[in-house]
Symmetry: D3
Subunit: 236 residues, 6 copies
């Protein structure tokens, strides 16, 4: 009996953008020795494909933000000095710890809030949870976000769950974001621009009086591509 | 009141791989005249972005297979002369009509079967439905596929719905595919190889005794990339 | 005696743009097995070079139009619904059959006319010649085209022989093309633009009052690059 | 009098690899508004050139390591947990602070030592100098390095000054590096491989018994390209 | 009357590989000033397309060999020190003068022989014809080459006419080339490899006992790509 | 004892832009036979990396100008017909001989002057020194250039030493260049534009009244990129 007859295959689509394993695994080289002899230096294979998504980590936790995105967000934190960072989509939790570590290094008193419909994959050890709050909730239910109303400002709100995004953005504009706060859509703009260009342009234009795109960060990495918005002055 | 306050935004994620409109719209040039004067020929703008996904059509129906994929599938039909083509994922229905037209031109008596959980977007006019059958059904329920058991062979089974794919492939191997029949996974292999490389390799290897990859078609277009499998000889 | 001493070598230049064999040969893989085992899936070679010119076919006949060009011409046929298609350069004849099949599928009563100085390479079987006419004639002699004068409109005239092109275009404008008809120069514009840019711009500009470039199709594929012209309104 | 008649122009060659200003300046957009209106979202300019070298910073200090290099060195610190990091070439000092911050976050008791022939450009504020030592010294004089002999291990030695590199590497092997310690040559390998390939291969081969190239990090970024070496087991 | 009604258009195909004008014309910038002001230096347009074919010249004569090809042929002349250079295809004659100048500078007593079916386009002034001989003759008639039999060796034979190439190569092997002499096919190999790969491989293989490809020059430029052959040792 | 313990390694940085050996060495193929058999023609390795810097030569002397740069400078010599060419940076001396040979072929009575702080690497044989003068001098001392004051015009001044460039350019404008003369900065503009963009733009702008960039040559090769300046009309 061949082993394709296993009971069930996981649906790989559920991993898109996430990766199959929330825990970080250090790289293991299978096709070459890790210690390459220096008298054969000129023959060494190059292009390890090291920039692979599954490799990014922060202190042992998987990190689904690539180095260029990290560099741009570092700059945003430096400039804005946020008191609250909300991220929808927790997965392994690496980026929450990264946000906490960076703001702490910068001397900012900042709460980092992660929201996900399934926190079972979160790998943050208890010893690393200071200034980090986790909520299991459903992004399709806007009531999920009510507890955020009292959050300190400046505030950065990051959609990394990619579900019901524009209705959440509307909720945030109506009930949460103050002038200068950010709403960031990671990863999805290029896809939406390919498959739904008319809807996307129409939806963004709907926010023309309340948000603007920040041109310093909106093109700084492929993950942030045209998705960094700032709460504008209130129009009277 | 700004118009971001509309009641609801559609979730753009549901369009990924589909496009926002199942009906084909002919191209309209907004940034240049369609008739370009020949005494200014050297100044004409190039790179229309004409190869955009939303443009592909077959006789007025949107066609979510690009030209290279069409060329490769044409060759497969020519070689295999299938009596049945099953496609999961109907959307506007253009590719079903295309399969029907091509097999008819080739003189093949072929039934084309489309399965989708939502047939409301299908744009095939009644006058074009000969040799085409449509079923509204849920890919996550394998019972959906029971009626296929009596289909004529040779048979091509195309997964273009991307849900529960490997369990469907297992069902097809167990209950449907005869030697020489094809199971094709469109579009998804490169994504799965990026986000779940270990699972993907493991899942495919599980089928090693019952399927092989057909190297003539498995790299013929980006949509077919490493996703064309053929039912092998039965191992006794 | 070494075999370079054979009597005669064919002049390979005569094949440029044609290929050495007008008959289609299905692909045969020599450097890898066609059936690739799935437990070695990750090691499979990629980039088959499948998009090679010599591979394109339509129902077993070689087809010297690549998939992108086919997609664009499909769209043109859909929009114009031509009653006559003239193509200079027949070679194996695949594109004539393709034009006939497509117009027939679209329900258009269309005559397809192929003209070549050497019809001996034509591979169209007798059973596939309905609505197709073939003329052996010399493009350098404009009298060749006299019989076309009575052709039905709308009409598409395609130069795929690349000999005496602009004088033929002048003849067509003077004696054949009505408003809305097309004159298409395949393949050659980029070469002429490289080697004779001044002549090319001057020749095209000469037609400024009688033809315009159709920007929807003129950049849709590399074979059609800046070579799709439409008969304009008559200037009084 | 035109202003080319100024007394003196600085020699721009002295900036190669450094940049003209050791202090970090936040980006200022001069050719577009920073706040881009969302109803003109589709017209927004892209490709800001944001990945420009002069932009990288760490908490307000210029950082001459790009994001990919930071990601790779983060991984190395995580794996090795070094007690000492020596960097030749201080410039603004950003990377020293970055090394200190990262090792501290990782809970490692690590001394970071910067050596430069000109410390006047160093921008590290006094309040950020814990666990960081600075020495003004000349790399061409190996006596410079004597004080390092008592440093704690594991140890990482980074040449970012690019002067007398191989003699320093020899000194480090003879007097400093223990098994498992690293010697890293940043930025220069591709240049040397272009202009002095024979010398480079010969010099590296000379170290074949005492160092090996670590294939996990040696191709992880263009700045680390084939320049990460690890002290091997002593051969008896 | 529009001016497309001119009597005759030249057939642009006859210019392929030649260009429309055998005389060299110095570049004239039409879309920008030649003198660009230095206080607007950062705004200067780049990518002049200066490497355009029609631009290459040698001392005022058009030169249909690009700079990389010149560099490689310079090296070949240096190494071989030929006494005779035969080139089929003269056009403006620039490369004949270039061969003469280079061999003279190298102190080689070398005759340069140009053969073309139409010498009317040759632009070599009488004052520059020392050591250069011109023959008007038809490459399709092998008797054309009989007068070459007494030429001095070493000898380089270059096919830049692209007509009857392999029969001429056979004639040269049989009647002209001595061991170490070269037969070079310029420009055409990539085209023939695209359109007639089987014939090309078969024809070259026919010469396996009498010629070999010289790997130093056969890939040194795109014009020489896999087309530099050397007369091998006679097999007894 | 391993041989890394050699007394001294040369500092490879001193070779940047020069190469490790001023003498030209002909290419030797180590990884393939030079004579490739024609019956295995289709398997021949391609991409020899023949365009490598260390390969360029002129009549046996290394030539640190690539073929595209040679083509552009040839055109400049043809147009300007200079009586004096000054080059800072001699190294092997190949380009001095090349300048001398070209101007002589063009019938120009031209003196070629090479200046370097170390002439010991110069490989020009005594027999090739007609019309070439060599000075050992230090570019950082402007007095070095005093003897040039009497040079004949038109004059081309090339900075290929890359030391103190802008002060030398100022000296040349003040004391040497007449209207129409050229000052050329080779190789360095792209580096300076990367590492010191503000200084570079400011320094060039300082010369706005006395020099302009010649757009015919300033983008003709990567080595000349935006670095070809012409002495403008004197402003009264």
């Amino acid at each position: 009996m061949s082993d394709y007859s296993r009971e069930n295959f996981l649906d790989l689509n559920t991993f898109r953008g996430l990766g199959e394993d929330p825990a970080y695994q250090p790289p293991v080289l299978t096709d070459r020795p890790r210690d390459w002899p220096l008298d054969r230096w000129t023959d060494a294979p190059r292009d390890l494909g090291f920039s692979d998504f599954s490799r990014y980590q922060w202190r042992g936790l998987r990190m689904l933000k690539d180095p260029d995105t990290q560099a741009a967000l570092h700059d945003l934190l430096c400039e804005l000095r946020p008191r609250t960072i909300v991220e929808l989509g927790v997965y392994g939790g690496g980026s929450l710890v990264w946000f906490r570590d960076l703001t702490k290094l910068m001397g900012i008193d900042c709460q980092v809030i992660g929201i996900d419909k399934d926190l079972s994959r979160c790998q943050i050890p208890d010893s690393e949870k200071s200034n980090i709050s986790l909520y299991e909730a459903d992004c399709s239910d806007l009531a999920t976000f009510e507890p955020l109303r009292g959050a300190a400002h400046p505030l950065v709100f990051i959609d990394d769950a990619h579900s019901n995004t524009f209705n959440i953005m509307k909720w945030a504009v109506d009930h949460l974001l103050e002038q200068g706060d950010y709403f960031i859509i990671e990863d999805m703009i290029p896809y939406w621009d390919r498959y739904s260009p008319k809807h996307l342009a129409e939806y963004l234009a709907a926010f023309r009086d309340v948000l603007s795109m920040d041109m310093v960060y909106a093109n700084a990495s492929s993950q942030l591509d045209r998705g960094v918005f700032r709460r504008a002055d209130m129009k009277e």
